[in-house]
């Protein structure tokens, strides 16, 4: 059984693993989480017609407006059209664009641009998810004017 030292030093030495800071994305500067957008279309199939129209008319301006995103246009023969978003947490989101019109494609692309890349979980489990402590503190029965009497 390990023995404790007879007398500990006055200040307990700190482990190197706790000498780290936690992220605060958005507090002063915001790093957008999307890094690459890949449009995959088919030249032959009619389901890709709208995506081909979108690529022809809108993709270049999209790439100019979002210089932090790499935009890739790729042919995917004999398959329905999709758009993939790659994020900084090494996850990706894939959205099928079969028979979507150009406005709907724009909406889906905007969804991918705004997303964080995290998995979508139902908000039923935890009511508050935060790294900060509660601002008003947690209620204590010992710090009230009138203590509870049975």
């Amino acid at each position: 059984m390990p023995r404790l030292p007879h007398r500990l030093p006055p200040t307990i030495p700190v482990k190197k693993s706790i000498l780290v800071s936690r992220p605060a994305n958005g507090h002063e500067v915001f790093i957008p989480q999307i890094r690459k957008l890949v449009f995959e279309y088919c030249d032959a199939w009619s389901s890709s017609a709208n995506l081909r129209r979108y690529i022809f008319n809108h993709v270049e301006s999209l790439a100019r407006e979002n210089p932090h995103v790499e935009v890739v246009v790729k042919e995917r023969p004999s398959k329905h059209p999709i758009v993939r978003g790659f994020y900084l947490n090494n996850r990706d989101k894939v959205i099928g664009l079969k028979e979507f019109d150009v406005n709907q494609i724009q909406n889906k692309v905007q969804l991918l641009l705004d997303a964080s890349g995290h998995k979508i979980v139902p908000l039923k489990r935890k009511t508050v998810v935060s790294t900060a402590e509660s601002a008003r503190g947690i209620w204590s029965g010992f710090h009230v004017q009138e203590p509870y009497r049975i």
């Binding site: 706790i18 936690r22 002063e28 500067v29 210089p67 790729k74 900084l88």
Partner: protein
């Protein structure tokens, strides 16, 4: 097991980042010619490590961190992402190419700048913080772990070019992925300093490093906070600390709770709770020391020494315009000898 899966995923993230569309020929020639006997075995990992990340990835990275106008040449970004272990590895495979530039000089300059800005910020924000805790706080803000985390969050992992050297027993600590990644934010700081000015570099460091969350309470741990508090109170020439029970419940049951306050005369210095009187007293003394050492200058009243340097591009020593007038902040009382040295 989990660690092995994580490292494989990290490696895959690095390797998979080079798209086939950016290569002149895929699969490469060496794979096909290797069919003959006596030819060197094709090493896929080494080959992928030798490929340059596409220019679009470098410029997208610069835009993502908001430095597109500051670092305009993709070659500069590539240099910032090249670790010192890489040029030698590259030269063994491409001996006829000119030697590559690494980020080692930029990283050491950036490291000094980070130390400068973090030190003045921590010292001005927490004037009473003891020296050891201040050094630990500076490591927490701009140390190697934080730098590597920041590089990962910026998305620099697929852009990093490095080479893991063989582990030799006589060699000092070998380079890890985290160590290589940590050089990137330092190099970026140095590039901002070089391409703009010192005040711009300070702004960059405050935005990316010093805005992150660091809890200083775990850095202030005392073996005997009661003794430390008694000596601190005597240094401030106040009455000796006395602990008093404020509230208690459940004494002599299996779940008692005591709330104890430590007083100097009529002033309450700190409060602590615990399941025993000793525990509550210990926490109360710790709380009192935290309330002293962690007093913080509000951000709107913060004056940093580097503010005397004038704003504007170029070297701060050559500019003639005078900067803001510097109002010195409060200098804290030095910490007690008991808790400042390991005696």
């Amino acid at each position: 097991m989990v660690q092995a899966v994580k490292s494989i995923a990290l490696k895959a993230a690095q390797i998979a980042s080079i798209p086939a569309s950016s290569l002149r020929q895929f699969p490469p020639k060496e794979v096909v010619y290797n069919a003959g006997a006596g030819a060197p075995v094709f090493n896929a990992e080494a080959w992928s490590n030798l490929q340059q990340p596409p220019v679009s990835a470098l410029t997208a990275f610069a835009h993502r961190i908001g430095l597109a106008n500051v670092i305009q040449k993709p070659q500069e970004i590539l240099q910032a992402c090249t670790h010192r272990t890489y040029p030698q590895f590259y030269a063994t495979h491409h001996p006829n190419d000119p030697p590559l530039q690494s980020n080692s000089n930029l990283a050491s300059l950036g490291n000094s700048l980070l130390g400068l800005f973090a030190t003045e910020y921590v010292h001005a924000s927490y004037p009473h913080l003891p020296t050891r805790a201040m050094k630990a706080a500076i490591s927490a803000y701009v140390g190697p772990l934080s730098c590597s985390n920041i590089a990962k969050e910026m998305g620099a992992t697929p852009l990093l070019r490095w080479h893991r050297t063989e582990v030799i027993p006589t060699m000092p600590v070998p380079v890890t992925l985290e160590g290589a990644l940590s050089t990137i934010p330092r190099a970026l700081t140095a590039l901002v300093y070089q391409n703009r000015s010192l005040p711009h570099a300070r702004k960059f460091v405050h935005a990316f490093f010093l805005s992150r969350e660091v809890d200083l309470r775990p850095l202030l741990k005392f073996s005997d906070p009661k003794t430390a508090l008694a000596r601190t109170v005597s240094k401030f020439e106040r009455e000796r600390p006395i602990s008093r029970i404020l509230k208690e419940t459940g004494r002599r049951t299996n779940s008692p709770i005591f709330v104890v306050g430590v007083y100097s005369g009529v002033d309450k210095l700190g409060e602590g709770f615990g399941s025993s009187l000793k525990m509550a007293e210990f926490r109360a003394a710790e709380d009192a020391l935290h309330r002293l050492y962690l007093t913080r200058t509000p951000p709107h009243l913060l004056t940093l020494p580097s503010h005397i340097f004038p704003e504007g591009r170029g070297s701060v020593f050559k500019l003639t315009k005078q900067g803001e007038e510097y109002v010195a902040g409060e200098i804290g009382v030095t910490e007690v000898v008991y808790a400042s040295k390991d005696r």
